[in-house]
């Protein structure tokens, strides 16, 4: 079982019920569960959206889009059914926060889904987990069944006259399905290939109906916002970045784990204080701050606040909140290769720059890593990545290009060592292909 951690700097809102047995519906209710939903039924959509806007909650899936605003885009008077879709596909390397929510607080997700449904007038919600999370699906399924049994889901929820259905399901192994429109395709029983935008999901989404799609953590935050009030929630975080978020700190740290920290919390402090510093007292070399797609930061770039805007200014992204710490022993070429291998494996293959670009990046970096690289390859890696940026059909191409550009720019000297045969690793060691996936 994933280990729970804690630190005094944590502000526990979303993780408040972790480890308390709140997957049991009675326990959940005892801990203020389903109060927010009833409040929202009473107050109605306009109230919900206003509170959400006031909370300053920004999407926890990676892009950080203001949630209240997203919900407000759903057209009011349409005759097509509307849907709420919870994105629990959590597949960005370095990220395991939704995992804990499904495990410890499944009802928070159900309650958040109900509230999102109330806000936009949807009668149906889907909770989609990644295929590997079968054991979490079972927990979710039980929670949903319990909620139905109590009359919190189904016809006439909480005796309000409102109907709301929830269906849970999993994917079957595909990172790209985490992209919102690819997720809809997958849910419609198709290949996980993203859709052309516009139209955006809020207008034409699942089954052609207006759809709100949010990350599982975003949705799980929703009930708390109504329990504490939007403004109070906003205050916990930094400017234009309301509330707290679950940060997963992994890699070379003493106390890896998922910590709930206020938005804007200092990255360096998070690593050195909250997560106990670098493993074994080694020197820190680099940090991938928000999941594998975010550009790497070097040891001297860590004094930055963990929110969407500050991280943007620092030339990287807050992303999915998965902080991966690398100590001095890590080969950046190897790390870059493992990263690009992932994107090559996960590219859906739809568009040329991503499909071919990730493959050539993997091949070229792989060759450099194996000792067969030439100087020109390094320019080539940069050229390839730069020509993918912003030109692919969906952001997966960017997700592959961005970190690559970061590695080759900030650690070019290491790549050069490999090209010149000074990497300190014998080519024999590299003979075994790093990644055998495929």
């Amino acid at each position: 079982m994933p280990k729970l951690v804690s630190h005094p700097d944590e502000v526990r809102i979303i993780s408040r019920r972790f480890g308390t047995g709140a997957e049991n519906i009675d326990k959940y209710v005892e801990l203020d569960g389903y109060k927010a939903a009833q409040l929202c039924i009473e107050k109605g959509p306009e109230f919900i959206i206003n509170e959400m806007k006031a909370s300053g909650l920004r999407g926890r899936g990676g892009a950080g889009f203001p949630t209240g605003l997203k919900w407000s885009f759903v057209p009011k008077n349409v005759d097509r059914p509307k849907y709420v879709l919870v994105n629990g596909d959590e597949s960005e390397p370095g990220t395991c926060k939704d995992h804990l929510i499904f495990l410890h607080d499944p009802h928070a997700i159900i309650e958040g889904t109900i509230i999102a449904g109330l806000a936009i007038g949807a009668k149906m919600g889907f909770i989609y987990l990644r295929g590997e999370y079968r054991y979490l699906l079972k927990i979710m399924e039980k929670a949903v069944a319990d909620a139905y049994a109590k009359g919190y889901l189904g016809k006439n929820i909480f005796g309000s006259g409102i109907d709301f259905e929830v269906v849970t399901q999993t994917g079957a192994g595909a990172y790209e399905v985490g992209e919102e429109s690819a997720l809809m395709e997958s849910l419609e029983g198709k290949r996980g290939v993203p859709r052309i935008k516009p139209p955006f999901p809020a207008v034409v989404g699942l089954y052609g109906g207006p759809t709100v799609i949010n990350n599982a953590e975003t949705i799980a935050s929703v009930p708390h916002i109504f329990l504490m009030g939007g403004e109070a929630y906003a205050k916990v975080g930094s400017e234009r970045n309301g509330g707290t978020r679950l940060f997963g700190i992994s890699g070379h740290v003493e106390k890896p784990g998922v910590y709930e920290l206020p938005m804007g919390y200092n990255l360096k402090k998070a690593i050195y204080e909250v997560a106990g510093g670098v493993l074994g007292g080694k020197k820190l070399k680099a940090v991938v701050p928000g999941g594998s797609s975010t550009p790497v930061l070097t040891a001297d770039e860590l004094d930055v606040g963990l929110d969407f805007d500050q991280m943007g200014k620092a030339g990287t992204m807050l992303g999915s909140g998965g902080i991966v710490v690398l100590d001095e022993t890590v080969s950046m070429v190897e790390f870059a290769l493992r990263t690009i291998s992932f994107y090559q494996h996960e590219s859906c293959g739809w568009c040329i720059p991503c499909r071919e670009g990730t493959d050539w990046l993997k091949k070229t970096i792989g060759r450099v890593y194996a000792g067969g690289g030439v100087e020109k390859d390094l320019d080539n890696i940069k050229y390839l990545a730069e020509n993918m940026m912003g030109r692919t059909f969906c952001p997966l191409g960017d997700a592959a290009a961005m970190p690559t550009i970061g590695f080759i720019k900030k650690f070019r000297h290491e790549f050069e060592e490999y090209v010149r045969g000074n990497a300190g690793v014998s080519p024999a060691e590299h003979d075994a292909a790093l990644v055998s996936l495929g």
């Binding site: 994933p2 395991c96 990172y175 890896p256 494996h345 859906c348």
Partner: protein, 169 residues
């Protein structure tokens, strides 16, 4: 025709599928879960599974094939009774994921996507499985194992070998 539906699945699974297709606004939505559950029961997506799922959802068999070939957890060949999936993605890699993989290779005597001769184990190097903070992590079928060491990994494999299933760790 209408009286008795022929199915290759167990009565339980067939009944589950009958219900599953009614949950969604569009029948086809059930395809991905159905593929997974079929695989759980049959061991892999056999041609017969494809035909029956296509029939149940009123789609073409090549639609089923194109969907199933997209998802990495779905397979068209049998694997071992216990499919050992070792994550080597970044967080696990930093915490000896490759060491675990190498160890499994040695102990089981098989490589990536291979099956032991007795059919008990198969091995797979997989992408991030969402357990980064508890790295290195491994999944055996749907069971999660995290914070592994070579010793713990041995224990896990021993348990399966002895037919105990998920007990340790």
């Amino acid at each position: 025709m209408a009286t008795e539906k022929r199915t290759i699945f167990s009565p339980e699974l067939a009944a589950r599928f009958d219900r599953l297709v009614t949950l969604y606004p569009v029948k086809r939505s059930a395809l991905v879960p159905m593929l997974l559950y079929s695989q759980d029961e049959v061991g892999y997506i056999s041609p017969e599974v494809i035909v029956e799922l296509a029939d149940r959802l009123d789609i073409r068999t090549n639609d089923v094939e194109s969907v199933l070939s997209y998802y990495s957890m779905l397979r068209t060949k049998p694997v071992g009774k216990y499919n050992v999936q070792v994550c080597t993605n970044i967080s696990c890699m930093l915490r000896n994921g490759y060491g675990i993989l190498e160890h499994c290779k040695k102990r089981l005597g098989i490589g990536h996507k291979e099956v032991t001769p007795d059919g008990l184990f198969s091995l797979e190097e997989v992408e991030c499985i969402g357990a980064c903070c508890w790295a290195p992590a491994v999944q055996v079928n749907y069971d999660f194992y995290d914070d592994l060491t070579v010793e713990k990994m041995d224990q896990v494999l021993d348990d399966y070998q002895a037919g105990r299933g998920k007990v340790t760790v």
